[in-house]
Subunit: 360 residues, 2 copies
């Protein structure tokens, strides 16, 4: 792990949107997904080493904007992210973001990265990591309710890492499902477009809900969920936005990332604030049980946590540097004499830093 | 003001270190300083319109790392910044940073900018803005204690905007003062290198302290400060780091940015938590008096506040766009169909976005 390598001359590693696309193209999505799941698992196992600063949320009327910081002994990471459901009506991305890593010892930034794609990748990888501990053994069929931006990432993460062979898709918008079917057409997955959510969950051992549904508990109703199923609840991630009918939660074992955050933003906002939940990191670290019987219904009530972004950032940083695919960005002023910052304004960039301009 | 213009196709305006240098070179530092002072003054006048989120600070052992968010009705801004005094020993910049602006209505980022140079510029501009209301009328001579990274920015901001003609410099490191004298040599300022701080303040109507001095109150002692002087206290900006002997504060009128923050980080951490202070924005907005007599000693106890960064970001954004000097950075994934985010991974960047890669 060379996450904190940094750079003495002030150049910062940069992963643009195109850079992430090229990186995934060069390494291959299966390997990237495996690597991401491993990175997140390593960091969940050492959960207690992290300095978990509360995220800073600002409601904006049409959505919310957040800064999500976290740090370990070597690095400080944060993500800027927002969720504006109304963007979809303007054909704009509802969730976008970017993030950075900095050295704890110097404070100097050493990675800047787009995090719209990375958030989609890490969300799917986190779901798989949870399912490794919670899904029924030998699960091969998965239902995905919601064919939006997260759908294919979920399908392929579960295919590549957990061995899912069939995905059954449903969305209120048939065009969205058609898009997902098309995108997944030559991946080796057996993809079934379903006419109803009820139809989609038939025979599925794992159900992922990743909708933009507003309101509470309208995506999965109690009668749709048989015993022994594992549910990834992804789409409910803010106050007043949940996907699972509360009765499902009451008869399930519920696993969460960070209880203080999930009680506000997750599915369990529908339950008593004292309702027992298990922190997923404790399962990963061997301090708590995951799935213990084939008849148990399990729910991973996922709202996203800063450590997952940190894992993703350090993983793609190392991957890009090792593969020689990192770009460099001129965002850190570090003159030879730190007291002579003003000197940078006395001559033009061309005179001392040829080629070290913008992104290379 | 076109701060929230954004860009439909996902390109984000970028100001690299070289970009800020080029922008200042093209526009000229005098005009940039005037513009920055005006921008900060406009935003201080509408202080109550801002959503002032607490900054998120993390102590790192050798320093601290902060995220400083703030927003108005149109834009959300934040800065990543750190202060690691030990960096100077490794000939690394002690304070570096970068920041961003995003649209409130969509959450989409529309500016990413280096903020090492910008922080130095806005700190000097904020000092001048305060001095417009607090310094004695007709002041022409200024002492600057500390010849580090902030020194020349202070000297020239006061020269260009407030009409200061003479600066008297002192630093415990004579080489630092020699560097500042050299940098200021052809600016029209009369620059005097002094052997002691006592010597430097002789005859000065304005005193700026911008040292990296650790400990409390060692830079300016009570006997050094005559009646009628205005003091900008810049260097003291965290717990246990102040520059002014407390007696100076007790016989002065003290002006601050944001009391909850300044009581912890500023010079007034040495005083009773109830000691009366005036919020600078109230002076700018006409709700409170600034300087009322020639014998009054005034202190601007400056620790830096997120609104100043917001002002700087929106000012340089508009300046760069208007001058055609903005770069563009590929950090916001925004596919034509927002539900088809995954589609970005199905083809390589070259196939759909020629030339829109990294920074242009």
């Amino acid at each position: 792990m060379n996450s904190a390598s940094g750079d003495a001359n002030g150049a910062v590693c940069f992963l643009s949107v195109a850079g992430v696309r090229r990186l995934v193209g060069a390494i291959g999505l299966p390997k990237v997904m495996h690597g991401l799941v491993d990175a997140i698992e390593v960091d969940f196992r050492r959960w207690e080493e992290f300095n978990k600063v509360p995220r800073v949320t600002q409601a904006t009327g049409e959505g919310f904007i957040e800064l999500m910081p976290v740090s370990d002994q070597h690095s400080y990471g944060f993500k800027y992210v927002h969720c504006h459901p109304g963007n979809a009506l303007r054909r704009d991305q509802t969730v976008t973001g970017f993030g950075a890593l900095a050295r704890i010892d110097s404070g100097h930034t050493y990675l800047l990265a787009e995090m719209t794609l990375l958030t989609a990748l890490r969300t799917a990888a986190t779901s798989v990591m949870a399912a490794k501990y919670l899904a029924p053994e030998g699960a091969r069929t998965m239902a995905i309710i919601g064919s939006g931006a997260q759908c294919e990432f979920q399908a392929l993460a579960f295919h590549y890492v957990l061995g899912i062979t069939t995905v059954r898709l449903y969305d209120v918008d048939p065009l969205a499902t058609a898009k997902a079917v098309q995108n997944l057409s030559s991946t080796g997955l057996h993809v079934v477009a379903c006419a109803t959510a009820q139809d989609a969950v038939a025979g599925a051992e794992i159900i992922t809900t990743c909708t933009a549904s507003v309101g509470n508990g309208r995506v999965l109703t109690d009668n749709m969920v048989g015993a022994g199923v594992h549910i990834n609840a992804i789409g409910g991630d803010c106050e007043g936005k949940t996907e699972l009918q509360a009765d499902i939660l009451r008869r399930s074992d519920v696993f969460v990332e960070y209880p203080p955050q999930t009680r506000i933003e997750g599915e369990i906002q529908q339950l008593d604030p004292e309702h027992p939940v298990t922190e997923l990191w404790k399962v990963v670290a061997g301090h708590a049980a995951g799935r213990v019987s084939s008849q148990q219904t399990t729910v991973f009530d996922s709202v996203g946590f800063a450590i997952e972004d940190f894992s993703a950032l350090r993983y793609v940083h190392d991957l890009a540097v090792d593969a020689g695919l990192s770009e460099w960005i001129d965002i850190l002023a570090n003159p030879d004499d730190p007291k002579n910052l003003f000197g940078l304004l006395l001559c033009m960039p061309e005179c001392d830093r040829p080629g070290n301009d913008g992104v290379n």
